[in-house]
Symmetry: C2
Subunit: 189 residues, 2 copies
């Protein structure tokens, strides 16, 4: 998605998504909350949220032409009625990662970690949206969002375990894995 | 520069840099101002600026390893006492550019437009800093900043003319070229 669209994830006591569990895999945790909202429109500034994470959709940083075509053919959109489970996984990478030149980051990301090619197995069951947050000055570099049906929860566990075993993940300094279940109908597709 | 540092350029009636001329090369112009400040620290919210442009330094998007080493060896820093001329050139690229996959953007940027390799000729005379603005939601994608000595003003004209003739520049939709002369000593190196 090349268009820049702002998102705000608000953790608090009410929201479209009910929190099933929050697991901190690296770095400092996020304060526990019962619910989460993902909002792609400007929202009220003070809605009693315990924490807010801001991000933007942006252009793709590592995807090559042939991969882009395959992704567009195979990936699913957000808001599918059957996709009543979700995960928000905010991630921060190390200064060493950001200091690498583009060709070395691409080589680690895809040629050595197969981030794109190994993920095709999980499409279209797992729908995904990547929000960039590093340049907004927040505590994370990326806010990664996933939606899937309850019967694909195990497949999603397999996907994140696969990614966490890659060379790319050695550069991940902070990671919080928030699993969610839809508490009301989709309002923000 | 992989560190994320915020910058604010404020155009108004007072500032470190005196405006010599403002030329609009594409898209809508910026309101004429007499002076400009470049501030890499949070400044006062209301200082009578006519316009403000916000950006951040960030990691490099297209530079490969060998190019990074050569750039680090040859480029000059900002704030040199002799560099009493400057240019702020804010740029916005088209949606078609941002929708291209990474390999096609790199091919246009360097293999076909030689943005990196053809610029080495202008180092270290022209010092340069790139600020990213697209994901901050402002009117431009990039705020490009250059500093040079008065005797290199012709060399700088040659550099921007070279870039404007490239395939990459076909994707530039808005460009404003602001030439500046230092009115007081450097306060923000």
């Amino acid at each position: 998605m090349a268009v820049v669209t702002r998102v705000c994830f608000r953790g608090g006591s009410v929201g479209e998504w009910r929190v099933l569990r929050i697991q901190t895999l690296g770095g400092s945790p996020l304060e526990p909350v019962a619910s989460l909202n993902r909002q792609e429109r400007p929202g009220p500034a003070d809605d009693g949220a315990v924490w807010s994470l801001h991000g933007v959709t942006s252009h793709q940083r590592y995807v090559y032409g042939r991969e882009k075509l395959q992704l567009e053919a195979e990936q699913a959109g957000l808001g599918r009625p059957k996709a009543t489970r979700a995960a928000l996984i905010p991630i921060a990478k190390s200064p060493a990662w950001w200091d690498l030149p583009q060709d070395e980051r691409r080589a680690i990301f895809e040629e050595r970690s197969h981030h794109i090619s190994a993920s095709f197995k999980y499409l279209p069951a797992i729908a995904r949206r990547l929000y960039h947050a590093r340049e907004l000055g927040g505590p994370f570099d990326f806010l990664t969002w996933f939606e899937f049906a309850p019967e694909h929860a195990g497949l999603f566990d397999e996907l994140v375990a696969m990614l966490r075993g890659t060379e790319e993940w050695r550069y991940v300094e902070r990671e919080v894995d928030i699993r969610l279940s839809r508490s009301i109908g989709p309002v923000n597709r």
